[in-house]
């Protein structure tokens, strides 16, 4: 791939991937024009390619030109503490509420909630179970994967995404629901979150859920570590 080393330098320098892709694409097109110009002057293909590349500029000059513009730097490189320390718990909590909101709206607009608690019909219980499965087994792992992906594409050091995954694990999001037998009103759907040590009792009750969720959330981090040690 053309300009691969330049691309790596720019990503490691904190330039956002979309600007790197665009810069490299336009450089490739410019190089084609320069090569065609040299060919038109009568140089053979090999000579024309060498002359065109020399006119385009060396990798250090091309990198410096881009790195000197601070506005092309991505947030993950500009403020890694905000992105990998503050954002993971905040996004996890917001995502949890976003997942629960459709259930609340469904219960309200379908007229299920009222005096004496919720009238949880079969379709609503199925919807709750699907939401719970999504929340418990997909949400935290997907968020962990997102932070690992952000760090990987920006070539950031591994401790940043590992810290983000650790914080998501610490938030320890758990979706739970309890309903009485069909036809009876009542029951509850809730999100549990908090530091593991502070609700050890609850954790012991739902250990199978916690272990599965922990494993799935840690998969992206384990993949990252495996890549690091295999590449050594």
């Amino acid at each position: 791939m053309r300009f691969k080393a330049l691309g790596e330098t720019l990503l490691k320098g904190g330039v956002a991937p979309r600007y790197v892709r665009r810069y490299l694409a336009e450089l490739s097109e410019h190089l084609q024009d320069l090569t065609a110009e040299q060919r038109a002057k009568g140089h053979d293909a090999e000579d024309a390619a060498i002359r065109a590349r020399a006119r385009l500029g060396n990798d250090a000059e091309l990198a410096e030109a881009m790195l000197s513009h601070k506005q092309f730097r991505c947030w993950a490189a500009r403020a890694p503490i905000a992105v990998f320390c503050l954002l993971p718990p905040a996004v996890t909590m917001l995502a949890a509420f976003a997942v629960m909101m459709p259930l609340v709206l469904c219960a309200r607009f379908a007229g299920l909630s009222g005096h004496g608690g919720i009238d949880a019909r079969q379709w609503f219980r199925t919807l709750v179970m699907i939401t719970l499965a999504f929340g418990n087994f997909f949400l935290a792992p997907a968020l962990a994967l997102s932070f690992v992906w952000i760090a990987r594409r920006q070539r950031l050091p591994e401790p940043w995404p590992l810290l983000a995954v650790a914080l998501i694990v610490l938030v320890d999001l758990q979706f739970q629901a309890h309903f009485p037998a069909l036809g009876h009103r009542g029951g509850e759907v809730g999100i549990g979150a908090g530091m593991w040590l502070f609700h050890l009792h609850d954790l012991l009750e739902t250990w199978h859920l916690a272990v599965t969720q922990l494993f799935l959330t840690l998969v992206p981090a384990l993949w990252l570590l495996q890549r690091k040690f295999v590449s050594r």
């Binding site: 600007y19 665009r22 810069y23 694409a25 336009e26 450089l27 097109e29 410019h30 084609q32 024009d33 320069l34 006119r55 385009l56 500029g57 000059e61 091309l62 030109a65 881009m66 000197s68 513009h69 506005q71 092309f72």
Partner: protein
């Protein structure tokens, strides 16, 4: 004769790019060749380093770009925006004032 002191050229490529794009839309290679040819080779921006400048101007809202295929070649073409026109007017004013001031000093000594 190309100018060898980069400090003298600070802001000049930006002004020239805006001026050229005020007339017609152009792509990167075309812009570099136009600057080089219109200045008789006195100002020759680095071929590849023109893109960060174009991207920065676009990010500031002075330019807009679109990908267009002409004669089977797909390239990114740049045009001036209303904001770019204002920037061009402002930079031209600054440049004329600076040029007049420098000329006075040069002819006074």
């Amino acid at each position: 004769m190309a100018i060898e002191s980069p400090a003298l050229l600070a802001g000049v490529p930006e002004l020239m790019i805006l001026r050229l794009l005020n007339v017609q839309e152009m792509y990167g290679y075309e812009i570099v060749q136009a600057i080089s040819s219109k200045t008789g080779g006195v100002v020759t921006p680095g071929e590849g380093v023109v893109y960060p400048l174009l991207h920065a101007l676009e990010k500031d809202g002075a330019l807009k770009s679109r990908r267009k295929t002409v004669n089977g070649r797909s390239r990114v073409y740049y045009t001036l925006t209303a904001r770019g026109s204002k920037k061009l007017a402002s930079l031209t004013g600054d440049w004329n004032a600076l040029n007049t001031a420098v000329q006075k000093v040069l002819h006074a000594v």
